[in-house]
Amino acid sequence: MSIRLSVNKTYKQFIGGAFERSESGRSYPVVGVGDQLLAHAVQGSRKDVRDAVAAARSAQEGWAGRTAYNRGQILYRVAEVMESRKDEFCAEVLRAGDGQTEAAAAEETAAAIDRWVWYTGWADKFATVLGGVNPVAGPYFNLSVPEPTGVVGIVAPDEPPLIPLVSRLAPVIVSGNTAVVLASERCPLVAITLAETLALSDVPSGVVSILTGHRGELVPPLAGHGAVDALDLTGCDADLDADAARQAAATITRVVSASAAERQWAHEAAQSPYLIDAFCETKTVWHPKGR
């Protein structure tokens, strides 16, 4: 009987549309069920954070400039590609070893795919629901519209490995923001598989970058970066959250974190147009009416 060795994947970071090792050359072991070594993930550096933010910054105007219909189709494409690789996602969620059953892993994967589909539909509807005409007391046309705030740093929670990441990423990019994501520190591998999906789904380079490594090392340069407009610190513990928020204060960067209700990841409470709104700016335009 012949034995075929499996071909193991190298999990690299996803920065500006390319899969790269860290410029620092470091990696860290990722273990799954029974402390079995799954892979060496990249241990990202401050420099990687800066590169990812630069990529996000330069991609932002173009992404926001796409039509809402186009962004919606790209989000839907992410769902399509994930669906076609759902066995791989399931297996990876299962291997990550947070004590899930096969059924639970399948459920998490399905919920993650469905979340992309849910936000797909918001692309060309959230402005209708969140904005509108304001009846001011004077001869003026007055319209408020939500606009993407810019570059958003997202710190994904450790567990579960997939659904929180998708739940926090989709509402950020659907409006035209670009994102720099710090993946789960303990279970980073499925995040890189998601990055592969994004790369295959016509998501333009730089719209999403996904870094792996130690939060304590990567959150401070992300939070303190002047080109980051908003932070989602859902994956930070209390100390790191407070430190990051203090750093964000220096550039008046807004800080968002998932509420307890939003952390029921598979529940409907974890998805909302107000999560899109949380990473938007309301712009109000006035114009006189006259003959």
Binding site: V136, A249, A250, E281
Partner: protein, 485 residues
């Protein structure tokens, strides 16, 4: 002014009567529905900036006073306000709006005496808009179930609100009306130089029958504000003021779980294309920068003019500036009143000097400033480079910097070349260009062929270092609620 056809165009003085205003010599703190003495007994004078003379002594609340105020707000929230039906909260707010309208003259005169703004503005804008804000948010109090798609809205608890001196009563209304409408109680801290209309508002709140502790007003200094923001019993912090203080507050609130909204500084571009209606533009520029003496966070302090019309626009502007009347803010013909304080006048003077030192050309019309009080003539700088301090820093005074541009792309780049993002102005007769420009402005409010318009139904607030969160409109409810499934 030069005589025209043998007639002098000098105006006779037309001072507003201070008759309706009854000043006390000393004011306490409004806590739990009562005017109370500050525990430590510290008082500070509030000065009429048009004369430099003290109007009254006002309490300086310390940590203990803030503690009492927050406790009163908490007790009022838990003791009934949070459970009061929205329709009843609405009626209280409607009452407040009506009482403000009834006493509008008194409030307007007091606002001008304490803050130095022209009576024309406090009478026609500040006070009516403050009343309108209460009236507008009253209507939301019982309609919160209709405000947010698929979500209900629950109050947060006690809101700590720190407001600036440039629109004292209006800023109090912007803060209190949505907070109360959403079922929160509040502790509000007026600015040290302009506490009097907030203290008069305490009378209105009492006359409206508002339950004790729902609104508490603590006057004081920066330490008072810091104590309020830092108080662990506060669920929400809302601040309007400088970006510098905003940074400190954001750092202080970090990690506490308190909700925060900030409305901070600005350095707005007012962009004039060569096809614009230049006479309207001139009025718009004047309104943009000299309204409230330029002491406005959204003031159009950077004029960007397309090269072809730059000389024409500057010429028209200088002629219009020559007719602006600077002086007694209580005079109904005054266009530019007093600068709010000596400290603010010093800052303006220093920045104007920096503009001259850096090589920009300064124009100010010849005008005789009053002998006492804090006044600054309208100022216009040409030959300004984007690197000059007067083109970068918020001056918060009647000082306009003029820059030029050739293409729309260049106008966008120059307009957005600041850390701020509060407001912008666009002047052109071409509709498609207005919309193209508006899309590209990094600014929360864009005025096209107008400037400095405000309305309770219209959201206001900034991008980038101008802050986060909105005040006004449905968006103005969001900072004061928790959305629930």
């Amino acid at each position: 002014m030069e005589p025209v056809g043998g007639f002098s165009l000098e105006y006779a003085p037309a001072p507003e009567s201070v008759g309706p205003v009854r000043l006390a010599s000393q004011y306490g703190l409004f806590i739990g529905g009562e005017m109370v003495e500050p525990a430590a007994g510290r008082m500070a004078a509030t000065v009429n900036p048009a004369t430099g003379e003290a109007l009254a002594e006002v309490s300086v609340a310390d940590v203990g006073d803030v503690e009492r105020a927050v406790a009163a707000a908490r007790a009022a929230w838990e003791g009934g306000w949070r459970d009061l039906p929205g329709a009843e909260r609405a009626k209280y707010l409607y009452r407040v709006a009506r009482l403000l309208q009834e006493r509008a003259r008194e409030f307007a005169v007091l606002e001008t005496m304490d803050g130095g703004k022209p009576i024309r503005e406090s009478r026609d804008l500040d006070i009516p808009l403050a009343a309108a804000h209460f009236f507008y948010y009253a209507g939301w109090a019982d309609k919160l179930d209709y405000a947010f798609s698929g979500r209900g809205a629950a109050p947060l608890g006690v809101a700590a609100q720190v407001i600036p001196w440039n629109f004292p009563l209006l800023m109090a209304a912007w803060k209190l009306a949505p907070a109360l409408a959403c079922g929160n109680t509040a502790v509000i801290k007026p600015a040290p130089t302009t506490p009097l209309t907030a203290l008069l508002l305490a009378e209105v709140l009492r006359d409206a029958g508002l339950p004790p502790g729902v609104v508490n007003i603590v006057t004081g200094d920066d330490a008072t504000g810091a104590a309020l923001v830092a108080h662990p019993g506060v669920d929400k912090v809302a601040f309007t003021g400088s970006t510098e203080v905003g940074r400190a507050i954001a750092a202080q609130v970090a990690g506490t779980g308190k909700r925060l909204t900030l409305e901070l500084g600005g350095k707005a571009a007012n962009i004039v294309f060569d096809d614009a209606a230049l006479d309207q533009v001139t009025e718009g520029i004047v309104n943009g920068i000299y309204f409230n003496g330029g002491q406005v966070c959204c003031a159009g302090s950077r004029l960007l003019v397309q090269e072809a019309v730059a000389d024409t626009v500057v010429g028209k502007l200088q002629r219009r500036m020559d007719t602006l009347r600077v002086g007694d803010p209580l005079d109904k013909n005054t266009d530019i009143g007093a600068i709010n304080s000596q400290a603010q006048l010093d800052r303006i003077t220093e920045l104007v000097a920096s503009g001259v030192a850096e090589g920009a050309d300064l124009y100010t019309p010849e005008c005789v400033l009053p002998a006492s009080g804090f006044f600054h003539p309208p100022a216009l700088f040409t030959n300004v480079s984007t690197a000059h301090r007067i083109a970068q820093e918020e001056i918060f005074g009647p000082v306009l910097s003029v820059l030029t541009f050739r293409t729309a792309e260049e106008a966008v780049a120059k307009a957005n070349n600041t850390p701020y993002g509060l407001s912008a102005g666009i002047w052109t007769e071409k509709g498609s260009r207005i919309l193209w420009m508006a899309d590209r402005m990094q600014a929360g409010v864009v005025w096209a062929n107008t400037f400095n318009r405000f309305d309770p139904a219209s959201p206001f607030g900034g991008y980038r270092e101008s802050g986060y969160g909105r005040e006004g409109g449905r968006a103005g409810l969001l900072p004061y609620v928790e959305l629930v499934v």
